[in-house]
Symmetry: C2
Subunit: 382 residues, 2 copies
Amino acid sequence: MREVAIIGVGMTRFGELWNQSLRDIFVEAALKAIDDAGVDHIDSMYVGSMSPGLYVGQEHIGSMLADYLGVAPIPSSRVESACASGSVALRQAIFEVASGYSDIVLAGGVEKMNDGQDTSYILATAADQEYEAYFGVTFPGLYAMIARAHMHRYGTTSEQLAAVAVKNHANGYLNPDAQFQMKITKETVLNSTMVADPLHLFDCSPVTDGGAAAIVVPLEMAGKFKGHPVKILATAQSSDTIALHSRSDLSTVPAIGIAAEKAYKMAGLTPDKIDLAEVHDCFTIAEICATEELGFVEKGKGGEAAESGMTALDGKIPINSSGGLKSKGHPVGATGIAQIAEIVHQLRGEAGDRQVKNARIGLTQNMGGSGGSCTIHILEAM
Amino acid sequence: MREVAIIGVGMTRFGELWNQSLRDIFVEAALKAIDDAGVDHIDSMYVGSMSPGLYVGQEHIGSMLADYLGVAPIPSSRVESACASGSVALRQAIFEVASGYSDIVLAGGVEKMNDGQDTSYILATAADQEYEAYFGVTFPGLYAMIARAHMHRYGTTSEQLAAVAVKNHANGYLNPDAQFQMKITKETVLNSTMVADPLHLFDCSPVTDGGAAAIVVPLEMAGKFKGHPVKILATAQSSDTIALHSRSDLSTVPAIGIAAEKAYKMAGLTPDKIDLAEVHDCFTIAEICATEELGFVEKGKGGEAAESGMTALDGKIPINSSGGLKSKGHPVGATGIAQIAEIVHQLRGEAGDRQVKNARIGLTQNMGGSGGSCTIHILEAM
């Protein structure tokens, strides 16, 4: 098995990109990654995207985006695992390079959500259509159930949920690519509209257009290119019941812990060796569950971690230095690769005002649905 | 790079499967493949599916199908390249096994098309949404343009197109899993409704529900299992402009030739060494183009090949012994794996009444859209 590295990353600004189509967005991100890496060609590409069919009436975007990027006739495929689609694209690039079939592979992600006619319906296709979505459940509703169970079991408070949002907006304020580059207070969250009790509007990540891309090469070739390489120490993925009602414990997201255990084993690391993490805070409760399942704190202590400043930019384990899905935005298919882009920038010391000190090892955690799938990557500075 | 083999395949009957949902169909095919292989677990899985979001309102089928197959928490992702989705799933399984990350990987494909409200709209999302589908083009229309150009340039006749359908129905008549297990005549085709001139109804593959699966393992482990192994000699994929109007020559599908050249090089073979092939006859003209681009005959001679019996079951190079997409059916995401299942059965000598004599090396050619993507695999009996 060849070891692999990332030598370039790129992303668009996240937000309501009314002047750019899905193809424009992807091509911008891909060209930035190609330029960052300094490669003169790519051998193959993968695109993570959750639902271009429902959002913009376009499937077959592997072909379409290779065409518009000007790289046909190279192999180009789309991969999908709902909101974990981006990180799954990265996994395919890793496997293809590790296997020796290709040397330079682009892993990208894109979603054009604001053109969708009914984004709640479209996002709900990531839940169980027959047993959840059909009966009207939405994702705020599903995560609200997780939040309620967490509150019931561990005494987690609305203030602790709000602390996650406040922290992530503080970080996103420092990120020029963030959709909501603004600070908020605990009151902003607690006084905002209730979406699905106990989740307020500011507990929820937004609807976002955006794209991101990364270039994967064999580690032994990484020095040949302009791009400053970052080594991939681990890639791990898990699945779980797609429907929340099938799980024995609603107060957590077990797929995160299962993938984390595999990732730590592959990297030969324990959680205390991680310097920073980008986690999937589609809702504030999701970050709390991730903080626990990744082993940064004990079960039930994720809310305290955010409230105490432990996960702040200058805390013991900074989480979502980019602003996270909450502030940076959540173009679902792109999110997994945007997390990678943030960690690569941090490990290279290029994160500007939001740079985490002494960042050597970073982790990304990306998930689909209410935790029906989860992907974790661990990266190391070189 | 580890060499890889397929040790088990399975498929459902293809057709209008009103009593089975998408999940039922996939699980049936997957369990058949697992049983055929004799494995007691799988490490990971991929599902090729073009548009479960538009067909049945369900994305995130990687999670959903791992759940319903009872194999969670293993990694499970969907891959999509329109009608080439199945074969792209196989490629991902090959890469994952070849890389050493996993040993036993299931590659499946599924589509539940008959539940779709507007299948012409859904299939057209595989074309260029902004420049083709939006203006009303459908796939019969696109392939009709290819057929017209082929007729104009090479003198191909409607009778030659019909000969493809007649041959494939003759083969499908012998296949108990085929959607249309019936013989037809040239007159059946020529007297059928004109769909998009020069393509009659019987020049077109049908709308189909179905699933298929294959189990991929390292070649060196293949002997440990019950399933009779077949070696994978090559996997190749290409892309092209998604829109037909962007190509310089409409009388062919260049992506096939590009992928074929890579596949033959990887396998160290020339076209004359192929004993049989399953090709993507979504329309009769597509098989004619494939016969040429795969190097079985010169450009322009694909119609003659069908008419002369060269590609019949007892011909020099039998094509679509399964009945092809035309007679066996075309559940788009499953087609690429169903082609693999046919070649595996043939190379093992298990194809019953439609067995090709002395079948040692088989090829599959699967494509997406009007040839915006193409995947080719070459398999060898062991």
